[in-house]
């Protein structure tokens, strides 16, 4: 058991440090903004309703969505690209 646990921790650290920080905000073009918004509009009713009623973006301030979407990304294991689209959509509403 200890060996398995140690192996998990070691693998996590190794693979994790190889990868780049996940959610680093990049400067994206207006066209990319639009693409993310459209994709977010498609995903919002699907991903959110999988577990609970989809809540409108107007309920929270944009900075709050940054936190809540991180919480939901972890809880729902949402793909990172889809998370960027969702937060773009939620912040714009």
């Amino acid at each position: 058991m200890r060996k398995i646990f140690a192996a998990i921790v070691l693998a996590t650290l190794t693979i994790g440090f190889v990868g780049a920080p996940a959610s680093a905000q990049e400067n994206i073009s207006p066209a990319e903004h639009k693409r993310l918004f459209r994709e977010g509009a498609q995903l919002w009713p699907v991903y959110c309703n999988t577990c609970h009623n989809a809540r409108p973006g107007s309920e929270k301030a944009p900075y709050e969505w940054d936190l809540i979407i991180m919480h939901m990304r972890t809880l729902g294991n949402l793909p990172a690209g889809d998370v960027r689209a969702l937060v773009e959509y939620l912040k714009a509403r």
Partner: protein
């Protein structure tokens, strides 16, 4: 020669006359010199006076010239000052024009509606790079349970009471790849007012496919504990039986997770994984049927076993297919308890929704190796539920307003059950205090718990009917009617280990009404 004589005589006479005239002239001169001298003196005086006057005039003129020069200098200075003032005035005029232009620009900006993104960015700058918010839920409920059946000599009476629960979730985000999350459960429940730490963990987003979660977390086994247990998310007031009084798998863990998800096909076609290790399972006692306990509920020194778990889920339907969203998942959680005895569990789950219809279900099984040659402690549990929003229901003849109210209703039904070899009577009596972690304590209702004795039956069954009224997507008034329909079989175990067959257990009924706000 007479001519020469005449000429000489004439010349001589002329000479004599001339000399006489000179003598006369000299005499006259000596008489006029005094007068002339006076006159000259007088003239000289006049000249001196005139000179004096001229000097005075010159002096006066010089003074005037000096005065004029002084005045001229002053005029020149004044002129320069005027010039400088004029220059400043021009500069001030330019500045004023620029200020006016800026004011005009600002006025235009003020008058023009600010873009939401710009406003958001401004607020974000104001708030700083470290952000913090509070989410969570609060709810108040009234629970009634008929408690129509007895259980192995445990006394009981009909129960009804009000409860309140507040579960704030604190989110702190120091960077865009690290977050801290903590949930505190505070309640006025059957054991009085109390607070409990539900979850507290760090989340580190290593890359697009890997997130590390470290701390105290809900068990990532199936869907219930993690995603369905929040009161505003759960469509029912109560938990399904496998997650209630006789939980099949522990509800929480302290340890480390690695998790992530990725798209494998079209948009919406995803797979995800969660693997974790932790302190391992705990139980209220070493007898058969002892309740599982959360890591924070029971201080147990028997924690050397540790645990590992894994869950995989797949979402095969693309968003564009218009076929709804389907989730299929499988989980396992294994570890050692009591410093050496194995606990193994596994389960499968599904979730499907399309339009106004949503259905989900889980099936799970656990095996607990018992000490001292006792038979193994096996448990099974399941639930399946479905709900339908009446969004599109328009009753002919009903006013629009009434139809509008109807649209907010969601009727639901759920069937759940548990099979286990035995149940510990200590847990039924509430002696173990396991309920502090969110599980049932004894035969009393609590927030989200109906407290029915029938839920402690080794082969418990429950049909729950609910009618939710959604005021907003996260504010709901829920009403639930529970039919407890326990099956025969199984046994009760005393703290000493004595086993008594359960025998027939009466059916029971309960009603719960709860108002919940998710925030």
């Amino acid at each position: 020669m007479p001519g020469r004589r005449i000429f000489s005589i004439f010349l001589l006479a002329f000479g004599l006359v001339a000399l006489s005239l000179v003598g006369l002239a000299r005499a006259a001169d000596s008489d006029g010199s005094a007068a002339d001298l006076k006159e000259i003196k007088s003239e000289m005086r006049q000249l001196r006076e005139e000179r004096k006057r001229d000097r005075e005039v010159i002096h006066s003129l010089e003074i005037k010239v000096q005065q004029l020069e002084t005045k001229d200098s002053k005029v020149e200075t004044t002129t320069q000052q005027l010039h400088a003032t004029d220059q400043k005035l021009k500069e001030t005029t330019v500045e004023l024009q620029q200020t006016n232009a800026q004011v005009q620009t600002l006025q235009t900006k003020v008058d023009a509606p600010i873009a939401a993104s710009e406003f958001g960015d401004a607020i974000s700058r104001y708030l700083g790079t470290h952000s913090f918010t509070v989410a969570g839920a609060a709810g108040g409920s009234f629970n009634y349970d008929q408690q129509s059946g007895a259980l192995d000599g445990v006394s009981h009476v009909s129960q009804n009471s009000f409860f309140f629960d507040w579960e704030p979730m604190f989110l702190y985000r120091p960077t865009d790849w690290i977050m801290f999350e903590g949930v505190i459960s505070t309640a006025f429940g059957s054991t009085g007012t109390g607070a409990d730490l539900s979850t507290a963990d760090f989340q580190i987003f290593l890359n697009d496919y890997m997130t590390v979660v470290a701390g105290l977390f809900d068990q990532p086994f199936g869907d219930w504990y993690e995603s369905q247990s929040p009161m505003w998310v759960n469509r029912f007031v109560t938990a399904p039986l496998p997650f209630g009084a006789e939980a099949v798998v522990p509800g929480g863990e302290i340890g480390v997770q690695l998790r992530g998800g990725m798209q494998f096909g079209a948009l919406g076609q995803d797979v995800d994984y969660t693997v974790w290790g932790g302190n391992g399972p705990n139980f209220s006692s070493n007898v058969l049927g002892a309740a599982v306990s959360s890591p924070t509920a029971v201080a147990n020194s028997q924690t050397n076993g540790k645990s590992i778990g894994a869950r995989f889920r797949i979402y095969p339907l693309p968003v564009d297919s218009q076929m709804g969203r389907l989730e299929l998942g499988a989980s396992t959680y294994n570890g050692k308890w009591a410093n050496g005895n194995w606990f193994n569990s596994w389960g499968v789950d599904f979730n499907y929704f399309i339009g106004n219809l949503q259905a989900r279900g889980e099936w799970m099984e656990s095996y607990r190796q018992m000490p001292e040659g006792m038979g193994s402690d096996n448990r099974q549990g399941w639930y399946v539920q479905a709900g339908y929003f009446l969004n599109d229901l328009n009753v002919p003849g009903f006013p629009d307003k009434l139809n509008g109210y109807l649209h907010r209703f969601e009727p639901l039904v759920r069937y759940s059950g548990v099979n286990q070899r035995a149940v510990s009577t200590d847990d039924i009596a509430g002696a173990t205090g396991v309920g502090q972690g969110g599980f049932q304590t004894g035969l009393v209702p609590d927030f989200g718990i109906n407290g029915s004795p029938a839920t402690y039956a080794p082969h418990a069954r429950e049909v729950a009917l609910a009618l939710d009224y959604w005021i907003t997507p996260s504010i709901v008034w829920q009403n639930e009617f529970d039919l407890e329909l326990p099956q025969n079989g199984g046994a009760f175990v005393s703290p000493s280990g004595a086993v008594t067959p359960a025998g027939p257990i009466p059916n029971d009924r309960a009603f719960l009404s709860q108002f919940t706000i998710g925030f």
